[in-house]
């Protein structure tokens, strides 16, 4: 089936998410809470677009909107620019310290809205991507707490979580760099918990926290890793060479 995004003809299958179709065809739709490895949630809502089906137009969230029939899609219509501008302005009020949001606001020339109060120094936009990453990995150490305007990302009861393995995935997926993982020579501090850092037995490169290595090993029924990625490859290459190559 063919849909038209910003006038560009795009081939897609029924049921594909609109955002995926646009990205595959090189049409840019801004996103914040979208991550390729995790299912779309439609939290941040900056990826809203206007679709037109048989003359009826509607605002939809492209990351979770499955294409069911032929349609025209407008990524930057007047209506969308107005709404996206408002949404970005609102996010900026919540996360005034986020450089990413500031840049997006500048790019989309969003209204400043001096009348609205700022939330206070913060970078988090409450998209919940971190909690979804944590859940997808299976530890579920952080989650959203409370609801409504009081919503927060937290470990249970704000105590250091027994389930946290210090992998730092939450920090890595965060679109606004709001999660601080403090890292020293031989420790990593995140969510109020300090972890030792293990180093590659060959080259001394950081390979993760003991909890993380143990967790991965258990999940994959393997021996806990002791080498970094580069040294592991070298070792495998050596084994291969020994088995199939130079020995003969």
């Amino acid at each position: 089936m063919t849909i038209y995004i910003e006038g560009k003809a795009c081939e897609c299958d029924k049921g594909e998410y609109l955002l995926d179709v646009a990205q595959r065809n090189g049409v840019f739709i801004p996103t914040l809470c979208d991550h390729k490895g995790l299912a779309g949630q439609g939290c941040c809502r900056v990826c809203i677009v206007e679709i037109e089906i048989r003359g009826w137009s509607n605002v939809v969230t492209s990351c979770v909107y499955p294409v069911e029939q032929e349609c025209k899609v407008y990524v930057n219509s007047d209506k969308i620019m107005r709404q996206r501008g408002m949404i970005l302005s609102l996010l900026y009020k919540r996360a005034p310290e986020s450089k990413e949001i500031e840049q997006m606001c500048r790019f989309y020339k969003t209204p400043e809205l001096p009348r609205l109060k700022q939330q206070g120094g913060n970078r988090c936009i409450m998209c919940g991507l971190c909690t979804r990453a944590c859940m997808a990995l299976g530890s579920g150490a952080i989650t959203t707490a409370y609801r409504g305007t009081e919503k927060a990302i937290a470990t249970p009861y704000d105590e250091p979580s027994a389930d946290c393995i210090g992998c730092g995935s939450c920090a890595k997926v965060c679109p606004t760099n709001a999660i601080k993982a403090e890292e020293g020579q031989d420790f990593r501090r995140i969510w109020g918990k300090t972890f030792r850092l293990m180093r590659c037995t060959e080259c001394g490169e950081v390979i993760g926290t003991p909890e993380e290595i143990e967790y991965t090993a258990q999940k994959l029924s393997m021996e806990p890793a002791v080498l970094c990625e580069a040294c592991r490859r070298k070792k495998i290459a050596a084994v291969m060479a020994h088995t199939y190559g130079e020995n003969e």
């Binding site: 605002v59 909107y65 499955p66 949404i87 609102l90 609205l116 936009i125 609801r147």
Partner: protein, 597 residues
């Protein structure tokens, strides 16, 4: 001849000691047993809907209704059985005359009871009582029908979801039945959370089997073998009665492994809601049943296709389900005779606020707001002017006086910016500030929003801040326009129905009461005299009769004046509580802006 004494043991009457009335009546019957002319049986029933006049006691078959019954009245009631009714306990109509039966009571006489048909008549804890009123006959009939026939019947009835959105129930069932993907689930939404609404509670309390029967028929139609009733945990009596009803029905072979001895099975269980308003939204409710955080998801893929655990799921509201047995039993076309062209049947409303008679009323779709408020509700308390009625709960809108003749149905209310919602109806008089009312609802939604999507979480917070500013005299030029812009963003781009409809109270009050907003912002006056920061009270010397009622009412001693002489209010001491104005019988207490006095 024996008599049945029906004592209302709905939540409202229980709070007014109706259990003590039951005990007193029992004792009295036991005392009188030896020389009693008439035999009497006591039955504890569900809510009669006229809670402000509870506890309600009815004598059948004489059809006598007593109101505000005290345990001490037991002797008189039992003594009068078979004779003249106890005059002082009868309802006093507007003309001062006492009326004997419910049919003569102006609160009840215009009502047509379908969803509430058994409530107040049967003992909700007694399965036999339900069966004796024709209960489970519809299920028996449905078992002899094909799913297609059941769905056609429901479609013919024109029944639309009573939870708020008004989606066609028949169409929902047809879509769910069309998916060849098992297992399927049927869910009853009993997470009623609108402030002031209690129709679902009343049905679950007072006639739980009707809901179970509706679910069983729905399960047959769509091919579900498992069902859940999601009931909020605050509804203690409902939980107890529904649990008992499920057990009784299973024991009697009506539900369970073999529905009425046939080849179908249906397991129903209760899931208790944890008190989140947003869990009344279907997808959030399902997330909650699954054990996840109660947050809605985008509904581009409908729950009938992928709902609970990604399986086809039919979710219906309590009141919708309670209508189903009647539709199957009497036929869809019979049901469709009541109501308007596009809204069929009856609707239960929780009529509350500044009306003389408050309570649960079931009326045909399409009656006018005026009929509801003036004929059934008896008009505004103290005959003050009507100002607005807020329909549809926190996401509904406020409808002003010049639109009182609008018919109440799904489409008309939506057209005018309000909505049917679950049927809450809060009546306001001229002493209600519409800005403050809108602020109240925005604040409610701020607390109850799940906080998942940006427009709802952030937009509502700022709307609340602006509304609070306006109510406290810090409103600025441009605030109304800014509110409208925020509302547009919410309506168009919020994730779920809660966010999308959250602007309704603000938008309708701006639309119909814009001058009130402007008075707050530009003139620093609250015309209704409600917003404390913008209101000061004074006494009109020409009207004051010196009765001193206000002086006695004032909690801070701010009113001065001798009996029979004009009174005055000390502005510095006054805390603007409005108590003096409430009690004054001569309209002598007036309000004005803060800075003017």
């Amino acid at each position: 001849m024996s008599r049945i004494i029906l004592v209302c043991c709905g939540t409202g009457c229980l709070a007014n000691d109706s259990m003590k009335v039951v005990e007193a009546l029992r004792e009295q019957i036991a005392l009188d047993r030896r020389d009693a002319q008439v035999q009497a049986v006591i039955k504890e029933t569900g809510c009669n809907g006229f809670c402000e006049n509870g506890p309600i006691v009815k004598i059948m078959p004489d059809d006598i209704s007593y109101y505000k019954v005290k345990p001490a009245d037991a002797t008189a009631i039992i003594g009068s059985l078979g004779g003249e009714p106890v005059e002082r306990l009868l309802y006093r109509g507007a003309d001062g005359k006492r009326v004997k039966s419910q049919h003569e009571n102006p609160f009840y006489s215009p009502q047509i009871k379908i969803a509430l048909r058994n409530i107040g008549v049967i003992d909700p804890g007694d399965l036999q009582d339900y069966i004796s009123r024709g209960g489970y006959e519809a299920l028996k009939k449905a078992l002899s029908m094909t799913p297609e026939e059941i769905i056609s019947e429901v479609e013919a009835s024109g029944l639309r979801g009573r939870g708020g959105a008004g989606f066609s129930t028949g169409r929902k069932w047809r879509t769910a039945a069309g998916y060849d993907n098992f297992p399927k689930y049927i869910v009853c939404n009993g997470d009623e959370g609108d402030p002031g609404a209690f129709m679902d509670r009343s049905i679950l309390d007072g006639d739980p089997h009707s809901v179970l029967e509706g679910m069983a028929i729905g399960a047959l139609a769509v091919g579900a073998k498992e069902g859940f009733l999601y009931i909020r945990d605050e509804y203690g009596l409902a939980l107890r009665n529904v649990q008992k009803a499920i057990l009784d029905a299973e024991k009697a072979g009506i539900l369970g492994d073999s529905v009425m001895g046939g080849p179908h099975s249906l397991r129903l269980s209760i899931v208790r809601g944890g008190g989140a308003f947003v869990c009344g939204e279907s997808t959030a409710l399902m997330a909650s049943i699954e054990g996840r955080v109660g947050e809605p998801r985008a509904k581009y893929i409908r729950s009938v296709q992928r709902g609970l655990w990604d399986q086809p799921t039919v979710l219906n509201n309590v009141e919708t389900l309670a209508n189903i047995p009647v539709i199957i039993q009497d036929g869809g076309s019979q049901f469709a005779r009541i109501g308007t062209e596009k809204s069929k049947g009856t609707k239960v409303f929780a009529l509350v606020g500044k009306v003389k008679r408050t309570g649960l009323v079931e009326v045909p779709m399409g009656v006018s707001l005026r009929h509801l408020i003036y004929d059934i509700g008896g008009g505004i308390i103290n005959d003050r002017p009507f100002k607005a009625v807020q329909t549809g709960g926190p996401s509904g809108g406020c409808i002003p006086a010049h639109m009182l003749d609008l018919p109440v149905d799904f489409d008309t209310l939506t057209e005018y910016g309000a909505m049917m919602g679950s049927g809450g109806m809060i009546v306001m008089d001229d002493r209600s500030c519409m800005v403050e009312v809108a602020r109240y609802y925005v604040n409610f939604l701020c607390e109850e929003s799940c906080g998942k999507c940006t427009p709802c979480r952030e937009g509502l917070r700022h709307m609340r801040d602006i509304m609070t500013d306006i109510c406290e005299g810090r409103g600025r030029d441009g605030d109304i326009e800014l509110l409208e812009a925020l509302c547009e963003t919410l309506t168009d781009s919020a994730l779920c129905a809660l966010g999308k409809s959250a602007p309704n109270p603000v938008l309708t009050t701006i639309r119909y009461f814009r001058e009130e907003y402007e008075a707050h912002i530009k003139r620093s006056i609250c015309p209704a005299g409600v917003c404390k920061s913008l209101t000061s009270f004074y006494i009109d010397k020409d009207k004051c009769m010196g009765c001193s009622l206000c002086k006695r009412q004032c909690p801070v001693g701010a009113v001065s004046g001798e009996l029979k002489a004009t009174h005055a209010i000390d502005g510095d001491a006054c805390i603007s509580c409005g108590g003096c104005r409430e009690v004054c019988r001569f309209e002598a207490v007036k309000t004005t802006g803060r800075c003017l006095v």
